[in-house]
């Protein structure tokens, strides 16, 4: 491993690390606003058309959504463990936890694509293949439009996260990180946790509207 030195504008690695964290949080603030506009559209639609949204959500697979939630929450915990391990110089454990996080992320993607397949087969894909004939047809179509757009953007973020994690795994394996320098691991963990937080709000929005 080569000795890591801070960039010219920083006094030391600690200062560089804090600046990097600040930059990452600034990026995440823009992401909050990116998803925020989608959630605002969702909130307006749900407030205007509660009956249609209740009817539409009856077609959501709660079991699948619940398992997906548990898988993502677990991946956040394993990512936190990976970051912690690298901070304490435990490279092997960090690599193991990063790989477990990747496996959980991949499992989520497979499960979610399975959910998409199920909805498309049911004829609930807005515009292209929408054959729903029950009451509140247009409201149900709006619900599924929002469902596909919002969850697809989330899925895209997850796929990006998975690619970054793959790079982090290789860098960890090649001994790039140490208790003195672990900024990329920490920033990746922040991004991964943010993607998890987005799902935490998507889950009640599309799976838990009303099950009574």
């Amino acid at each position: 491993m080569t000795a890591i030195t801070p960039a010219a504008q920083f006094d030391d690695l600690e200062q560089e690390h804090e600046a990097s964290r600040l930059g990452m949080w600034t990026f995440l603030a823009t992401e909050v606003l990116f998803f925020g506009v989608l959630f605002a559209a969702y909130a307006i639609s749900r407030l205007l058309y509660p009956q249609g949204f209740i009817a539409a959500s009856q077609h959501s697979d709660l079991m699948l959504g619940g398992i997906e939630t548990a898988v993502l929450l677990t991946s956040s915990a394993t990512m936190a463990m990976a970051a912690r391990a690298i901070r304490h110089g435990r490279r092997t454990q960090a690599l193991q936890m990063t790989l477990v996080t990747m496996a959980l992320g991949a499992a989520f993607i497979v499960m979610h694509l399975q959910g998409y397949h199920h909805h498309i087969e049911e004829g609930l894909f807005p515009g292209v293949n929408f054959t729903y004939e029950g009451p509140y047809r247009n409201q149900v179509e709006l619900f599924y439009f929002l469902y596909f757009v919002m969850t697809a953007f989330h899925l895209l973020h997850l796929i990006v996260g998975l690619c970054i994690l793959a790079v982090i795994a290789v860098m960890t394996w090649r001994e790039w990180f140490s208790p003195e320098y672990y900024t990329p691991v920490e920033l990746t963990a922040l991004y991964w946790d943010f993607v998890d937080i987005v799902w935490i709000f998507l889950f009640p929005s599309f799976y838990l509207i009303s099950l009574a």
């Binding site: 690695l13 600690e14 964290r21 600040l22 949080w25 603030a29 823009t30 992401e31 909050v32 606003l33 925020g36 506009v37 959630f39 605002a40 909130a43 307006i44 749900r46 407030l47 205007l48 058309y49 509660p50 009956q51 209740i54 709660l62 619940g66 939630t69 548990a70 929450l73 677990t74 956040s76 915990a77 990512m79 936190a80 463990m81 912690r84 901070r87 304490h88 509140y136 047809r137 247009n138 409201q139 709006l142 208790p179 003195e180 320098y181 672990y182 920490e186 922040l190 946790d193 937080i197 935490i200 709000f201 889950f203 009640p204 799976y207 838990l208 509207i209 009303s210 099950l211 009574a212």
Partner: protein, 98 residues
């Protein structure tokens, strides 16, 4: 670098268990016979889960004040955005989909 404020492995596990319990509570709340109003319970639970993740896994609890301010700024702006947008939509006549 500073690792003194690091949470333990047991701490990570404890937070994970709390998150799973909160998710289960959220599912249980969806079975209440209050129609679409379940959001009154499910979203505050989601907000609690998000805060827990931000404070612990994302280490905001041990971050500098400036990082906390930046982290909060996005959510504060989102709050303003929702308040102003919903004020408009909820106080005007609108086109109703069938």
């Amino acid at each position: 670098m500073n690792t003194t404020s690091d949470h333990s492995s047991i701490g990570v596990l404890g937070i994970w268990i709390t998150l799973i319990v909160l998710a289960a509570l959220s599912i249980a709340a969806a079975y209440l016979p209050i129609g679409s109003w379940t959001w009154i319970i499910t979203y505050p639970i989601a907000a609690m889960m998000a805060l827990l993740i931000m404070a612990s896994y994302m280490r905001l609890r041990s971050s500098t004040v400036i990082v906390r301010i930046f982290a909060g700024a996005g959510f504060f702006w989102l709050l303003l955005w929702f308040a102003v947008t919903l004020t408009d939509y909820l106080t005007r006549p609108h086109l109703y989909l069938t």
